[in-house]
Subunit: 324 residues, 2 copies
Amino acid sequence: MKVASSIYGPVQEDLRLVEDTLDRVKHVENFPALSKMLAHVLDGGGKRIRPAIALLAGKFGDYNIDLHVPLAASIELLHTATLVHDDVIDASPSRRGRPTANELFSNSASVMLGDYMFAHSAELIARTDSTAVVRLFAHTIMAIAGGELHQDMSAYEYGQDTMQYFGRIEGKTASLFATSAEGGAMVAGCTDSEREALRAYGLNVGMAFQVVDDILDFAGDETEMGKPIGSDLMQGTLTLPSLLLMERYPKANPVRKAFRGRKPKTETVAEAVRMVLDSDILNETYAVARDFRDRAVSSLRTLPDSAARGSLEDIADYVLERRA
Amino acid sequence: MKVASSIYGPVQEDLRLVEDTLDRVKHVENFPALSKMLAHVLDGGGKRIRPAIALLAGKFGDYNIDLHVPLAASIELLHTATLVHDDVIDASPSRRGRPTANELFSNSASVMLGDYMFAHSAELIARTDSTAVVRLFAHTIMAIAGGELHQDMSAYEYGQDTMQYFGRIEGKTASLFATSAEGGAMVAGCTDSEREALRAYGLNVGMAFQVVDDILDFAGDETEMGKPIGSDLMQGTLTLPSLLLMERYPKANPVRKAFRGRKPKTETVAEAVRMVLDSDILNETYAVARDFRDRAVSSLRTLPDSAARGSLEDIADYVLERRA
């Protein structure tokens, strides 16, 4: 987490309290096996971007450490729970260079581990003493699960367009960023317009985050990411770069070839990756991510200039520049 | 649901409102595939015992239809979500004589479906406007997931005792019955002692329910239950009848033989079932279930005699007498 020290400025100290809360979550009385699983998935090198956004959003209203810290911890727990279930669904053996829970333990244990974490995150969110915040998060998990279901059901279907892609990544990724910012604002008793501005910020940062994620699946460093290049295509997931590739070569292209039969060959996926890298598609995709970043930063304009606002702007830049 | 008409007396009408709420849950705007999955699992012939208990518990305080109905619906949704994930974990092809979600759709869709349902149940619980109730339910899902994890991790281990069994079924089954009763009482603003009495009722009814479930796995009607006899042993799960069998034949018994190698043979499991049926083990197990039923009914003694109390007593009897 070297990121934290530089850009999480005004909430850096409180992020340590978030870690302390997560440490307590990891320790389950009389259940060492569960404690071990929780420690494994929560120590996975997450950058804690979402909790940081929730804390920073709180700085625009009545920031309350006793409410904002459990909220931020619950967001990280929730996010990690979705990753645990995603890895089961995708049968992923590794994440960020470490074995996944399903690889290390079992699919069934990982499903239950995720359920336990979802429930624990609900328990932490309820500590904010606001059922409105609980409902906001519940709706967000519904959006995430719906987004993943859409992705699962449209796997290997090459008749998708970019609008469907944007809808899908809003559900599976941007919604939780939006809710992190909005939740932080709600708990701080921000006004409706502040809350909307912060939600818009989170939503657009989340969109940028996912678009960059999808670029890294073509151009990232395999070691840093801890997963092979072209994973999305191998799993039948169309992302913006592959959609743009199909737009340019509508008749014959390796994506179409890879998806036919639903068992992509490594060499066909490698060909698609090469074609994307040999074109200006990634530049075009970056421009889309940059556009989301710009919208995120613009959303903050109505809010007073402060260290928290500066930090949110830095986060938006970091999301664009990250390499893994 | 022929059960309902006779024993759910004072809340029978309101259980229809619970069904209406569940019908609305089943309908997801612009997502027919998800709607179809929800309808499949929610129309699975559940007897709605847990929602009935929640509504009946509410009758001992300030019963509020606008709060108790969403609470009761959320409990059924929550319960069904745990079944959806259980069936994925156990790779069960059928439940109550119908194909499971994992059989009909896919494992990955079923994991997401369960997550969606958990989240939606949290949303419904939050409508009670009580974060204390949200926390109660969150702790319960943690207990259920923990109980399932314990079961999963102890599969095919024959060195277990009855105390571990009772701990396991309290987590995986009785905790939700207890919370259904306690949640109904909390929402109705019952006193602490009323709430404790109702929780004790729910806990003991839940224990009786699971012990009877475990008997039916030896002696039930396969068609009515929609799953083969001996399923638990096939999956490496020790229940009270098999634990008693091992107690009586500690040295050589078919359970030990079946679990060695973790791939039980059908004929070895059939032999264990026959030995249980040829003994008085099921009588002894029924006596344990009856004892839990008696404790459940005794817990109600401090509460005023009423139609609701009579109905709770009938439910306790039904749980003991049910055949599927």
